[in-house]
Symmetry: C2
């Protein structure tokens, strides 16, 4: 079982955008360059984040991406669901309704106990992701980041951000 | 993010095998027939369960599969890991060490905060799976199963099981 690599790129990108001054945007190409990844690869994931209203995309020469809401209102679960889609990891194919021993469909009033148990585990997974906000990841990072990395980020944003007119 | 369909087949198969009398086995072909699935498809997953010491496989004319340990000693986590492998869903590719702002590798003493958060969620997921034993799934099922389904299962096992000589 594997989360798409886009989740990693999406979280990192959202964290960079969280550092923009109010109203500013960052072009997708700059985000890709910052992370050393392909622009077209990242673009797909940025689109998913826009569709999920995690990011906004402004068109035109002053355009680019920015957070659509504050970093403390964006959780890891928001981002994972935006990239991966809403379905749980376990998809019940109703094996119990196949094979020679299967009864009529109406006999299966309640979900399969296996499905119920797998969904309970998924809920626990999603609950931890839901309580982890972008803002807390940023705070943790700020507390222990190498000052050279911080300096690079600030300079990169200043050079590449686009400010509203 | 999606668990392999083999997880569903594996759990169902283990539950059927839990109902065998002591020492008896069930051939893989019978397990596949019971669930209305392909034998060669199921065989791969049964092999994974044997490798993980969840099932035993006995060769020969009296051969087949049976649980390698009691149903209360087998958890959903055991089965998921046997089918999916041990790696977590989130694989950190160290994006933070790529791109123009990357520092020397020695600068990255601690894991990325994103990876830490994703692993914490995975731990919560696995903890729920670990506490769900095959025996409790069987008990829940026994309490509410349609008697016709139970009767079919018993008859199927009697007809297809192989008893030790």
């Amino acid at each position: 079982m594997r989360l798409s690599e886009g989740v990693e790129a999406a979280v990192h990108s959202a964290i960079v955008l969280a550092e923009l001054p109010a109203g500013a945007t960052l072009p997708g190409a700059a985000l890709a360059e910052y992370h050393g990844i392909s622009g077209s690869y990242l673009l797909k994931h940025l689109k998913d984040l826009v569709a999920a209203q995690i990011l906004e995309s402004l068109p035109g020469p002053a355009g680019g991406y920015r957070l659509a809401r504050k970093a403390d209102k964006i959780s890891l679960l928001d981002i994972v669901l935006a990239i991966e889609g809403p379905q749980p990891a376990f998809r019940c194919n109703e094996i119990r309704q196949k094979g020679p021993g299967a009864l009529e469909p109406a006999a299966y009033k309640r979900p399969c106990g296996i499905n119920t148990a797998m969904l309970k585990a998924e809920q626990a997974y999603r609950a931890v992701l839901a309580e982890t906000k972008l803002s807390s990841l940023i705070e943790d990072y700020a507390r222990r980041a190498d000052p050279r990395a911080v300096a690079f980020s600030c300079a990169f944003l200043e050079q590449n951000q686009r400010l509203p007119r």
